[in-house]
Each structure stands twice: as C-alpha cells, then as structure tokens.
C-alpha cells in the first residue's frame, strides 16, 4: 500500500506544546467535566457521565440554548468532541470547530472533493494542538486546532481499491489508532497506529491477509484498559460477504472482539461473536469495558451487543466468556460452543431459493453506541427486531458481496439488558425501523437517545419511563454532555444540525 507524507506544509514539532487550548493526553485517562475529549467520552466506551445537574426530576425543564446548522444535506452521524471550550463536529469531507458556549463557528475545514463513498462520519480525535480527521478517500489529516489548517496528511489505505474511512481515531499515549472500512471488495482488514505528531506509521494489525477470506475491517472506534494496557476492537464481517462455501471455517479474525497491545499491535486474545458469518453481521459494535461484580465475583468485564443478535460478557483480561444471550429474535445458531460462541447453522447460509433470517442485514443492533449504567446494572442498546431474506448461488461468484439480500421487516426498540443474566429488563418502542441514535446515561439515572420518529428523548434509566422529548429531526448521533460555566449541556444532532440543551439559568 502506497503510503507517505503528502507534500504539504510544515510538520508540527514532535512535542506538541500544551498551551492555551491544547489537549493534554492525560485528560483522556480522567476526562474533566467540561470535556468530551474522545469518541466514547472516555476509554471505557460506557458513554456514561458523572454530571449531576440534570436529573430525572428536572429534565423536563431542558430548553434549547443554541443550534448549529451545518447547512449540508447529509445527516449528522458524528459524536461531537469537546475540548477546552471548543466543539469539533464532523461530516464526510467536513469538520467544524464551534464555541461550546454559543455554538458559533470558529473555523470550518473542507476536504477536497473526491469520488469515494460518502456514507457518514463518526468524529475526530484531538491531541496537543492537533485535530485528526479521517476522510472518505482514506486520508488521515492532522489539522491545527487553532485555525483548521492542514498540518500534515497521510494515506490510510488506497480508496481506489475499495477502502474508505469514516471513523474517529483512538489516541492512546503516543499512538493514534485508525481503522478503515471496505465491504465490496476482497480486501485485507487492518488497523494501523500512527505517530500523532507526524503521521509516521508505527504498526499494522491485520485481521485477514492472505485469503481465502478477506474483510474484518475495523471501522468503529475501539476502547482501552490502561491497567491491562490492552485496546479492544470489534472487527467486521468476512468477504466475499454472502458466499460461505468460498471460505470454509470460522474465518478468523473476522466478526471478533480482538484485544491488542497498543505498543506493538500484537494480538493478545480474541473472541468470535459470529463465526463464519454469511449475513454481513460485523462485530464492530462498541466493546464496552465495565468494572464491578459478575454474579458475586469481582470482574473486569467487556460487554458487546453484536449485530448478529447476541449479547456477550467476557473477562477482558483473558477473553473468557461469562455470558452469551440473544437480545431479540435470532434463528441462525444451532447452539453455543464451549468458548461461549454461537455455532452457525449451515442450513441458514444464503441459498439459491432464499433463507429467512433473523435479524436482517442491518442487524439486531449496529454502529449506534450503547451505554452502561453500573448502578442499575443495565446495558442499554438501540436494537432492531428484524427479518430479512438472503440468497446465494454459485453464479454470484466469490468477489465482494457475492449474493443478494433484502430487508423484510424491522422494528426499532430500545432495550435495557440486565448484564448479570442477559434478561431484558425493559423495552421501549422507538416507533419505526432501526433508530440512528446512540445512548448516553448519566449518574442521576437519566438517559438520552433518539427515537425513530424524529425525537430526542430522555428516559428514566431504571424503567424506561419517558421524561422529556424534543422533535429535532432524525437523531443520527450519540448524545454527549459537558459542564461549562456551571451549566450542564446536552449535545445531540437532529438532521444536519447540532442542538444544545440546558436547564434554565
């Protein structure tokens, strides 16, 4: 893969001086309450805030403070990043820096027009005085946080081969971890670590390399445990996507949770959520890190609600399975193996005359961030009970999709999973198909998300009772919260605009 520094302006000094509005990387270990400094808010992926100003009792008083309108047609799907009073919000080829107090634009970066896929963008990473943006045509660009000017850019992968990038990079000390996407071509799946000061490649981890199966792309931001010094990533589905016979066996390390050493990119353990997937059910959904007890024993857990429809609890030091339970209709597994992994039923592989599958291709869940509230013992996920029909015949070949599938029916449901048992404690109808919103919980027992009908909603975490709503358009982002000047703000995207809510002064 061709790589190297694009000819561009001066490289920033290797030691980013931390002055003014620059991010201190240690902030990522213990984020301050005025920040949301990385995609998940912190390294755990819990998307849970300790802020206490907004409570179940007063949340009905939330009012609009400002709206930032991108003025673009595409739906916002990014998580806003908030550092030192500045909000960074992205869309494909675009990044805006906003004043976190007023929502006014500070600067706007526009990437040159390109012909790669423009399907969405998830957010940026920040380090020192640099902001890192991935692009549809698979560049990693470092922009000056002060002015939005390009400091350097490097190639992540060759978009002409069918790669693209949508993800928010993950910064771990002096390692910037960046994944790519690519589903229509038989491409090796890879995660790369770049030097955040100059974009030099540090290491590459391949999920697949030599065939007969490809894929396993890492297109969603991973998580990190500083004590174990392990970073956890969900990997994508294998290609050819629907042609199972072309790639017998489990197709490691596709559709897996992989635990890597961030210094070297070396694999420490793996757990395969969907072995030998033939339905596009990648396991890219957030691997959430939770400390607590599991059935009475102290546990360092990893929780993952997978697109294929199973909810897993693992011991994140070793990858040992603690719990496997479906969280909605699934019809593709014959049982669970000794590792806690579902055993795919060969009778449910795509066929010439079609097999009816639960879930459908969009999955029982998808990219939408879940949230964990340890006080309630709940893992809350935006789910979709669904059915689809899948076809494959040898004439479809062994390249890319290699088959056909269609959605039949789907219903968006927010589900609160008791993570000790996998039981669904409560379910909330989202009034439509799959929603686009992630979930944010806070320590006061309130949660924020979006339904499928154009509402931002606040629910009581304990039982899912609705406390507040605002019809801001389809929510495609995961909400975030921060406190500034003594006020707690909620940031949530509706349509192509970003909305900030707070309690009355």
């Amino acid at each position: 893969m061709a790589r190297g520094l694009a000819a561009c302006a001066a490289i920033v000094g290797a030691s980013a001086a931390l002055i003014g509005q620059a991010l201190d990387p240690s902030l990522l270990l213990a984020p301050t309450k005025d920040s949301w400094p990385s995609y998940h808010g912190d390294y755990s992926g819990r998307r849970h805030s300790a802020l206490t100003q907004i409570t179940p009792e007063n949340v009905r008083q939330l009012g609009l403070q400002w709206v930032f309108q991108t003025g673009r047609p595409d739906q916002l799907k990014a998580s806003p990043i908030v550092v030192n009073g500045v909000i960074y919000i992205s869309a494909p080829d675009h990044l805006w820096a906003l004043d976190a107090r007023s929502g006014r634009q500070i600067w706007h970066y526009t990437h040159p027009e390109n012909q790669a896929f423009h399907i969405g963008h998830r957010g940026v990473a920040v380090y020192g005085d640099l902001v890192y943006l991935t692009t549809p045509d698979a560049y990693l660009i470092a922009l000056g946080a002060k002015d939005g000017k390009v400091r350097w850019k490097v190639t992540i992968a060759d978009w002409k081969k069918g790669y693209w990038s949508t993800m928010a990079p993950l910064l771990i000390r002096n390692h910037l971890l960046v994944g790519v996407s690519g589903d229509f071509d038989n491409l090796p799946g890879l995660l790369q670590s770049f030097d955040p000061t100059n974009g030099e490649l540090q290491w590459t981890f391949y999920t697949t390399k030599d065939g007969p199966h490809f894929g396993g792309q890492m297109w969603m931001t991973g998580t990190y445990d500083p004590e174990l010094n392990l970073t956890y990533w969900g990997t994508g589905n294998p290609t050819p996507v629907l042609n199972g016979p072309a790639r017998p066996g489990p197709n490691l390390y596709t559709n897996s949770i992989v635990a890597l050493n961030p210094e070297t990119g070396k694999l420490v353990w793996h757990f395969q959520a969907t072995p030998h997937d033939t339905h596009d059910w990648d396991a890219n959904e957030v691997p959430v890190l939770v400390d607590g007890t599991f059935r009475g024993q102290p546990a360092k857990m990893l929780m993952h609600a997978s697109r294929g429809g199973y909810f897993f609890v693992l011991d994140r030091a070793t990858g040992r399975n603690l719990l496997t339970r479906p969280f909605g209709p699934v019809n593709w597994a014959k049982g669970i193996d000794e590792k806690g992994q579902p055993i795919p039923d060969p009778a449910k592989e795509p066929s010439r005359d079609g097999v009816l599958m639960a879930p459908n291709e969009a999955g029982l869940t998808n990219y939408r961030s879940p949230s964990v509230d340890t006080r309630e013992g709940l893992f809350i996920v935006s789910a979709q009970d669904s059915y689809g029909i899948y076809f494959f015949k040898p004439e479809h070949g062994d390249y890319g999709w290699a088959g056909a599938d269609y959605n039949i029916w789907g219903k968006g449901l927010l589900k609160a999973i008791d993570y000790q048992t996998g039981d669904i404690k409560w379910t909330k109808d989202l009034h439509g198909g799959a929603a686009g919103a992630g979930v944010l919980t806070t320590t006061t027992g309130v949660l924020f998300t979006g339904d499928s009908a154009g509402n931002a909603i606040a629910l009581r975490t304990r039982d899912g009772a609705t406390l507040w709503n605002s019809g801001i358009g389809r929510v495609g982002t995961a909400p975030v919260t921060y406190e500034l000047d003594g006020r707690q703000y909620l940031l949530i995207g509706g349509g192509s605009s970003l909305f900030a809510f707070a309690l009355p002064r």
């Binding site: 799907k77 423009h118 969405g120 005359d353 009816l356 056909a404 269609y406 029916w409 009908a453």
Partner: protein, 261 residues
C-alpha cells in the same frame, strides 16, 4: 422503513471476479452515481437491502429520457428512506444515462448478475403451500384465493411476490409503478368530546397521532389528549415471520404463483 447507513449496509453488485481489473473508462454519471447513490443502490446499480436493484426495476424499464426517474431522484421517496438529490440538469441526465447503461450491460451479461430469478425461487410445492395457507399459516383468516388474492400471481412475480407476502410493504422492488400506496394501518381517534375520527395512519410516535380524515385532510392530536385504537392488518404478517420454516416460505410462494386468474 428508515434507511440505515452503515459501513456494511448494502450489497453490491456484480464486481469483477478476482484477478480482473475494473474497466478504466469512468463516465461522469458513474462517478456521481457511485458517490451519491452507490451506497444504497450498489456501486453498479444492482441494488441491495436498503435500495432496489435499478437494473431490474420496473420504473427504470419504463423510463424514457428521465421522465420517470428524474422526478424520483429529485424529490426522493422519503416514506421509503430515500432522500431527494437536487442535481443540476446535466448531472441528473448523466446519472440516468448511467443507470440505463448499467441495465443494458446487466441485461446482456446474465453470467454476472446478482439477481434472484423466478427459476431460483421455484423450489417449493404448491400443494403443500395451499395446505399451509389454509392451515398452519392462518392466511385464510384474512385472504381468499378467489377474492383479494385472485390473480396475485399475475400481478406480482418472482422476488416481488415473495417479499410482498412475507410483509406487504417490504422492499422497494415490489412496488408497481403507479400503484397507490396508502398506509394499510387505520386508526380511530376518540376526542374528549366523544367524537371519533377514523382514517389511514399518517404518523405516530409516543407523543402525536396523525391521520388523514374522510375529507382528505391531515389531522393530528397529542396522544395524551385522545383515545387511540389502531387496526393494523399487516401485523399478522410480522407475527408470522418468526414461525415460518424456509420450506413453508418456498411452498407458499409456489402456491401463490398458481393464483393467476
């Protein structure tokens, strides 16, 4: 059904087999199509779960110089999750030319289609399908082969027929051009005065209920202020999805294919 864009949510189309390289010549229409439409409809327009196979679409087959496709591309089909694309006239033409070129290419190159043909689907047993229709499937409770389903096998064919009986509003490929599309769900709203209003559902969430009344007016109320009763004739189809075996599906398809009078 809202379209969900994920990095994997689509299927694509006939890509070259391994070892071959893609055709080098790229038309402006292809470039535009791939960037704007490719994610849902597949890079070469042969469609997917979130957008239909355009090379196999009735609308494309009937289109002459953009008369059918132009309005759909410009205004979208929001009820099916397709946004509008405000393209300039030349851009619109080049995209439509590309779609027609893809259709022509696929039509003359059957070896690489990622298509589902009627022959593919014809593995079931019509007698077993009739027994299921009248028995375990419970279809006969609402449907009659000599009444509402007379000629259903002529009105819908192949994949369209299959998807429609699984769930009547499933899939875009099943919609015939010009077919009126009205929400099959009807609601009756009882106002505090005791007055009732009945009509097809237009919109419903936790907070608002909206219908079109007998005079054709859109009307909405807060859910909290009225009593709502919903009649959803297609709910039984959703409930059945978890009960079918794949053989049931293929047998029922075979039976429905025989209803052509």
């Amino acid at each position: 059904m809202q379209r969900i864009l994920t990095a994997c949510l689509l299927w694509l189309a006939a890509a070259p087999v391994s070892g071959q390289t893609r055709a080098a010549a790229v038309s402006p229409g292809e470039t535009l199509f791939q960037a704007q439409c490719g994610f849902c409809h597949g890079r070469d327009a042969t469609g997917g779960a979130s957008g239909p196979d355009l090379t196999d679409s009735e609308l494309v087959a009937q289109d002459r110089n953009g008369d059918k496709l132009g309005p759909v591309i410009r205004t979208g089909r929001p009820e099916r999750g397709m946004p509008g694309f405000p393209l300039s006239d030349p851009d619109l033409k080049s995209v439509i030319d590309f779609i027609h070129a893809r259709k022509a290419a696929v039509d003359k190159n059957p070896g690489r289609r990622r298509r589902v043909t009627i022959a593919d689907l014809s593995t079931g047993n019509a007698d077993a399908g009739r027994a299921y229709f009248n028995g375990a499937g419970g279809c006969a409770a609402c449907h009659s082969p000599t009444g509402d389903l007379a000629s259903v096998g002529a009105r819908y064919r192949g994949l369209g027929l299959l998807m429609r009986f699984l769930y009547p509003t499933a899939g875009n490929a099943t919609q015939l051009p010009g077919e009126p599309r009205q929400n099959p769900v009807t609601v009756t709203v009882t106002l505090p005065t005791g007055e009732t209003v009945t009509g097809p559902l237009v919109f419903r969430d936790e907070f608002t209920i909206a219908l079109r009344d007998a005079d054709g007016w859109f009307r909405s109320w807060p859910q909290s202020a009225v009593k709502v009763s919903v009649k959803d004739p297609v709910q039984a189809h959703a409930d059945q999805l978890g009960k079918y075996t794949d053989d049931d599906v293929h047998n029922l398809f075979a039976y429905l294919q025989t209803l052509v009078k």
